[in-house]
């Protein structure tokens, strides 16, 4: 039996979640790896004294995102038997979204050779380089070609909807020099509907269609190749015309949500993106916190004439009694159908 047991009902947990998270602004920046990180190892040779590796550098598409969003509300939280809980349909509103797409070309060295040598027959200067091409590095930036797309005006009218299955993670955190056991939701599966058609259409249908058209035009101008368009649309999560129809009917999402609940596993590239975002959102605040050293008696200043038992005569000034704290160990969280159960022991 644990020293202390705390149980929190599903309803109370939901109330706390909806008070703590909505309205909080989250800024995040991220970018895909450049060509250097994407280099492919093609061979490796080893002798007793040295190793050598050969890499094939490739040009890679590059993406970056600079965004700011806030949670609007979670429509429901359910505790599951398998030590997880499901957050149903969290609405996220975008305050800023700048997407950058580009190409990162591997760095190439150019020059460093002699363009014109003085003929050997020429006295004194014969055989020397008369014109050398200086060595230079090409394509050193990451990325080398970049097109920023400020989607903020469009996305400000768009509501993104996320459902997630989370487990609970207990971490030892330090805040202002004090250790805490912090209870964090840890998303293990996320279903994201990046452009929630229903909610968005409710707000501004014309803007959505105009947005899709604008992006398509921008992309076509920048990257005429069809595959680039596919990558871009897939990354952003914007629907193609076919999927747009499916999304309007919400067929696609219903099936995905059903699959996610059944498999507890994320599906799709947009979900992976959202999982990262969701992780970042939930990383911010703990749902519950317990100090590692639970202060039972606070530090206290007392007059020495109220106390005794000093090694020498009582000190002249006030005496400070240090705080007494119980060390909390072995915190655990489990879920059953209706309750989150937090248990811990004291270490003494």
């Amino acid at each position: 039996m644990s020293d202390v047991t705390l149980k929190v009902s599903e309803q109370t947990f939901g109330e706390v979640f909806n008070l703590v998270y909505p309205g909080k602004s989250l800024k995040f920046k991220g970018e895909s790896p450049g060509a250097k990180d994407a280099a492919i190892k093609t061979s490796e040779t080893s002798t007793e004294t040295s190793k050598s590796k050969t890499y094939l550098n490739v040009t890679v598409p590059w993406f970056a995102i600079d965004a700011e969003l806030h949670l609007v509300a979670a429509n429901g939280i359910e505790f599951n038997d398998g030590n997880t809980f499901t957050i149903n349909e969290i609405d996220i509103a975008w305050d800023k979204l700048i997407l950058k797409v580009g190409l990162d070309i591997p760095t190439m060295k150019f020059g460093g050779f002699c363009l014109f040598k003085v003929p050997k027959s020429v006295p004194v200067f014969g055989g020397q380089c008369a014109l050398e091409v200086p060595p230079i590095d090409l394509f050193t930036k990451t990325p080398d070609i970049e097109i920023p797309l400020d989607l903020s005006p469009i996305f400000k009218s768009i509501i993104t909807e996320i459902s997630a299955i989370c487990s609970i993670e207990i971490r030892l955190e330090n805040e202002k020099g004090k250790d805490y056991w912090a209870v964090h939701p840890d998303p293990i599966a996320v279903d994201a509907d990046l452009v929630d058609i229903h909610d968005t259409l409710g707000q501004a249908p014309a803007i959505l269609y105009a947005a899709v058209g604008t992006i398509v035009l921008n992309c076509q101008a920048a990257f005429p190749a069809t595959w680039v368009m596919d990558v871009f649309l897939g990354f952003v999560g914007l629907p193609t015309m076919t999927s747009l129809v499916l999304d309007v009917l919400d067929i696609h999402d219903d099936i995905e949500e059903w699959l996610m609940k059944a498999l507890e596993q994320s599906i799709g590239i947009d979900n992976l993106l959202m999982e990262v975002i969701f992780d970042a959102i939930l990383d911010g605040d703990a749902v519950f916190k317990t100090p590692k050293l639970f202060e039972i008696l606070e530090e206290k200043k007392v007059k020495p004439d109220e106390l005794g038992g000093f090694a020498v005569a009582a000190p002249a000034g006030d005496v400070t009694l240090p705080a007494v704290s119980f060390p909390v160990i072995k915190p655990e969280v489990v879920f059953d159908d209706d309750e989150m159960v937090l248990t811990f022991d004291f270490e003494f």
């Binding site: 705390l6 009902s9 106390l307 005794g308 000093f310």
Partner: protein
């Protein structure tokens, strides 16, 4: 179903008591020190020195400064008719204590408390070392001749002398085993709040002191201890269900005891249990 449920075991509380005994010994060791006059090199009175006499030695917790860390809480000396001076030095030290929630499994209740422990009750046991100072005949002679001091160059007036606790160098010590049983109850806190804040309080049902003879003296000691517990200790053991602000989350929990349960709070299965309904609100900040 309650919004929040909390429980703590008696084993955890007992380990906490031992932890506190080690780190805040002054909470468990009460001493009225003996006093003696001090004089300068010319024999003039300069003040009182003190002897903090105890029956059981008390260690300092590890790592503290022995010159500034106190081990005892000062008490007023015992006043008795016929005792000249400021009173009798004494000590009362709780050297061990434990609590046992129903069903009882760590404290063997004495017959006077009608074991076994009843449902929803707790038992408390404490080993108490007591000591009382007894002045020597020489000191009594001096006390009776206090005017000697007043008229001497010492300038120790009878008034000053009568403030001084008896000067002894040791205590007459004895040990007591104290048993008590009790329960928890709730009542609304007096005051203007509407609805009233509920308070969880402790009631003591029985007190038994062992190793005291004759029976009349035992009854008198128990009566005094019961009065001390009710008048001094229990009023401090009150848990008011007031709003709890969780700064880290920016929310305020306003708890009320969940109604409709047979016992809430409850003492059962070796745990103290409480079921609460909470009203969760965003904490109002000064600027909002």
């Amino acid at each position: 179903m309650a919004d929040i449920y909390g429980a703590i075991t008696d084993s955890a509380i007992n380990r906490a008591i031992k932890f506190l005994m080690r780190w805040r010994p002054a909470l468990f060791n009460f001493v009225a020190p003996s006093q003696y006059p001090t004089f300068d090199g010319n024999g003039y009175f300069t003040g009182f020195g003190e002897r903090w006499l105890t029956c059981c030695s008390v260690k300092w917790p590890p790592g503290v400064d022995h010159n500034t860390f106190p081990r005892y809480t000062r008490q007023d000396p015992l006043k008795m008719p016929g005792v000249v001076g400021g009173g009798i030095p004494f000590c009362a030290q709780i050297t061990d204590a434990k609590i046992d929630f129903h069903p009882s499994n760590t404290i063997d209740l004495p017959v006077a408390l009608t074991p076994p422990l009843m449902n929803q009750r707790f038992a408390v046991w404490a080993d108490v070392s007591c000591g009382v100072g007894c002045p020597t005949d020489a000191l009594i002679d001096a006390l009776l001749d206090a005017h000697f001091y007043a008229h001497s160059k010492f300038k120790l007036t009878p008034d000053l002398f009568n403030q001084m606790t008896l000067d002894v160098e040791s205590l007459i010590c004895f040990s007591l085993e104290l048993f008590a049983t009790g329960r928890l109850y709730t009542q609304p806190q007096p005051g203007p709040s509407n609805p009233p804040v509920t308070e969880i309080r402790v009631a003591v049902n029985g007190v038994e002191v062992q190793n005291v003879r004759p029976n009349g003296l035992e009854d008198a000691v128990e009566c005094y201890i019961r009065m001390y517990i009710r008048a001094y200790v229990l009023p401090k053991l009150v848990l008011a269900l007031e709003p709890i602000i969780v700064k880290a989350l920016g929310v305020t929990f306003t708890p009320t005891l969940t109604s409709g349960l047979p016992n809430n709070p409850a003492i059962e299965q070796n745990e103290l249990r409480v079921w609460l309904d909470v009203d969760v609100t965003k904490t109002k900040t000064s600027g909002s």
